[in-house]
Point group: C2
Chain length 475, copies 2
């Protein structure tokens, strides 16, 4: 597809040698070569004759002659009101192939992919307002001299918010703004490695690829079982790890919340081993009928690094997050940020601060909370109907739930069968630690994300899944 | 400073236990604790009584009683039209100290800091327009399912631009969008390391901290001398490195352009050693009286990785850049992006594509090019006056130049003396490879960035520098 440059498009690079023969011939030769080599693509607009003449310091007549010659030769086309454009040439070499994508078996009718918020509800007008405000209010110097820790205003807002809404106790000096959860995790782990921590425990099942991220940061990841009360702290003790990463508010992917006695055990463990707890305060914003539980960071600020982002509360497209860390780790995390990418975009940081401070962020959360609550209710009702009561777990918060399948069902077969019927879903095994021993029982289950799927699609999707399961378990 | 939440601010986390005594007492106790612990800061607004009652499922009267009690106890204050706010409490513990910054000796009157564009000219209204357009035109699905390589539209625009303006020859499939030069460099080097390249040559003097970034990526950095024709390719051959990073269009910090025979030698070297050239196509946008030279990437697309960003053409605050790589390296760079931060913000990527396609980017470049040209002319005239002709080098392009100092002058002493007179500048030594042998002669010089300093400040600054130099060289 041709790039649609407005007006004449950007300057063209043509190099003239004033001692090497007629300038018109030089321009012609170079334009011809650029078009042949596809440096100028078919349909792409050339600069106006006036502009190119100005640019090259030649008379306009010279350029007019060149364009007429190229027109005559078929290299360019001319249309009234649209200027001079590059013509389509026959292919003169092996065209580069676009990479082949694996086509889905079927058009997707219900997508239970995990971790995607309702994209139709992203507050785009609010975001646009916030960016515009940021361009108006940010001091000029703020456009250049970036603090890799992040914009002070955003660090103040994020920590005040975390103190107020999540019962945290970090201040702006403890916060580093990052591009999202992954970047925050990578920086925090690299900093722990520099502090002599060699092993990090991860939830099993748990979020995908965190083991890879840990290895890249120089740590040795070890799996720890998750049961009905969350991470098994007794098992954690056995690993010898001095750091653990977990999702206490709403475990990914099982949906359980870390139980009260487990929270106490975890904090006691950290104290005993001089350890660090990495808290992915994931889905804490979306609770439905459970008492809110404060962040672990508020409980033990000297040992907890809290990680957050707006990928699920606003949209992945905004790419902002934060790390709230005990003071001894902050300098290391800032240094990681400085050497990796210098920081997140300042205008976006200021925009997020304004979005939160103005109340628009909360208004958005309240709005989508109701949408998710309704979807959750439909999901629960449909699952009860289709699979019998008590099969759906982890529904107290967030945007995903766990559907237990009859013993002996093959997750893989159900997922594949569902795909042929237009339903995208993942099995629980998808979230298990690749290198963990398979000695534990692994009852089959599906992880159902319902953030970006309509109530109608949920109804349809659950019925399709029931069909796929029956197909697998039929004698 | 108090956070200025609009209206009542975000929800407050208060946890009620319906079996544990009067609810009003529980709310009171928790608010008091939150204020004492500074989780709620002085001046911070509390939710309205109506909102808090709703949130906690208690009667409004209960909350009114709580607020009145706290008011009586001095924890909160009330003002007509401004709601209930947290009062200032006397400090009850060691307050956290704000980090101490090294104060400059003097207010800065001229800042010749290198690498900062004219921040007063950043096209903020255009950027705001572009973000707003992006929120309106980006398909909903684009807000969630990010391609770590970057938004297709931007990759098409950036490569078409590079082909047209820089004589490049990359297509969208060769491009990966990153947060800026540093992130692109880190990803490219990590990918080269995976391809078995162990050593990377860096310009000496050259951009700062690139040796650190190379080491973090798992490579061994080695310095190669820069002379009046740019990087010394004969020396490069001796290093045994199979990768080299350089700034051919306008060397950082000496300002020389890589000479024509050096360009040929460099490409021949890459072919001989099966090597890779990392091209920092830095300052190529700002040429004044030199013939434009195409990018190395266009000359040898199979061996050159081109790195670019908008940090100097637009502003560091926008944080977007790109890597254009030979096909065999693209998957590795994309994987680095996926595991590090998933990608740059999609809305910003789309905004930049629209900015470039609409012609606003070029209009901005033309505008600032004239500003920089005028500053350069003033700088050249003032330097001739103050130091005698021929002392200023590297002025043909870009936003910085090199001022040679009389032999025997101490750069460090001049820089320090200038600082006490309100002029910020760096010596050339600041850009030398820390671990390189100091056997080469190192004639003293200052690096003068003139991107973000007005003509008046340049005049003043150069006179001050002349004074600082005289002071050092006086017998």
């Amino acid at each position: 597809m041709a790039v649609e440059w407005a007006r004449g498009g950007p300057d063209l690079l043509v190099t003239l040698d004033r001692g090497a023969g007629p300038l018109g011939v030089q321009i012609q030769t170079q334009l011809r070569a650029a078009i042949r080599a596809r440096r100028l693509g078919a349909g792409e607009r050339l600069p106006s004759t006036r502009r190119l003449a100005e640019l090259l310091g030649v008379s306009r007549g010279t350029v007019v002659d060149v364009y007429e010659q190229l027109l005559a030769e078929g290299y360019v086309e001319s249309a009234v009101g649209s200027g001079t454009r590059v013509a389509s040439l026959p292919a003169d070499g092996p065209a580069r192939q676009a990479p082949a994508f694996a086509a889905p078996f079927h058009p997707i009718e219900a997508d239970f992919e995990y971790g995607i918020p309702d994209l139709g509800s992203v507050p785009l007008a609010d975001w646009s307002w916030a960016v515009s405000e940021a361009t108006r209010t940010l001091p000029t110097a703020g456009l250049g001299d970036e603090d890799p820790a992040g914009v002070r205003h955003l660090r103040e807002i994020v920590t005040a918010y975390h103190r107020r809404v999540r019962s945290g106790c970090a201040v702006a000096e403890d916060a580093v703004v990052v591009s999202g959860f992954r970047q925050g995790l990578a920086f925090a782990l690299a900093t722990l490695a520099q502090h002599g921590i060699q092993r990090v425990a991860l939830e099993d099942p748990g979020p995908r690829e965190h083991d890879l991220i840990a290895r890249r940061a120089g740590l040795d990841p070890v799996p720890v079982r998750v049961d009905d009360h969350g991470l098994d702290v007794a098992r954690l003790r056995e690993t010898g790890a001095r750091a653990v990463l977990l999702t206490p508010a709403h475990q990914c992917p099982t949906g359980v919340a870390l139980g009260p006695s487990r929270r106490r055990d975890l904090v006691a463990w950290a104290d005993e081993v001089d350890g660090v707890i990495l808290e992915d305060d994931y889905d804490a914003e979306f609770r439905y009928d459970r008492q809110p539980v404060g962040s672990l960071q508020g409980l033990d600020p000297a040992r907890v690094i809290a990680l957050g982002s707006v990928s699920k509360t606003l949209a992945p497209a905004i790419r902002l997050g934060w790390v709230l860390a005990p003071p001894r780790f902050v300098a290391g995390i800032v240094q990681e940020q400085r050497l990796s990418s210098r920081g997140a975009p300042v205008l976006d940081q200021e925009a997020l601060a304004l979005l939160m401070e103005s109340g628009r962020f909360d208004r958005h959360l309240r709005r989508v909370r109701e949408i998710y609550r309704a979807r959750r209710d439909v999901l629960a009702a449909e699952a009860d109907l289709a699979f019998g009561p008590g099969k759906l777990h982890g529904l107290a918060a967030g945007c995903h739930a766990l559907l237990r399948l009859p013993d002996g069902t093959s997750e893989r077969a159900v997922v594949a069968a569902a795909a042929t019927m237009g339903v995208r879903v993942n099995g629980l095994d998808h979230y298990r630690f690749a290198s963990a021993p398979a000695t534990e029982p692994r009852p089959p289950a599906l992880v159902l994300g319902f953030g970006n799927v309509s109530e109608r699609q949920i109804r349809k999707g659950i019925r399709t899944l029931a069909k796929a399961v029956r197909h697998q378990t039929a004698p």
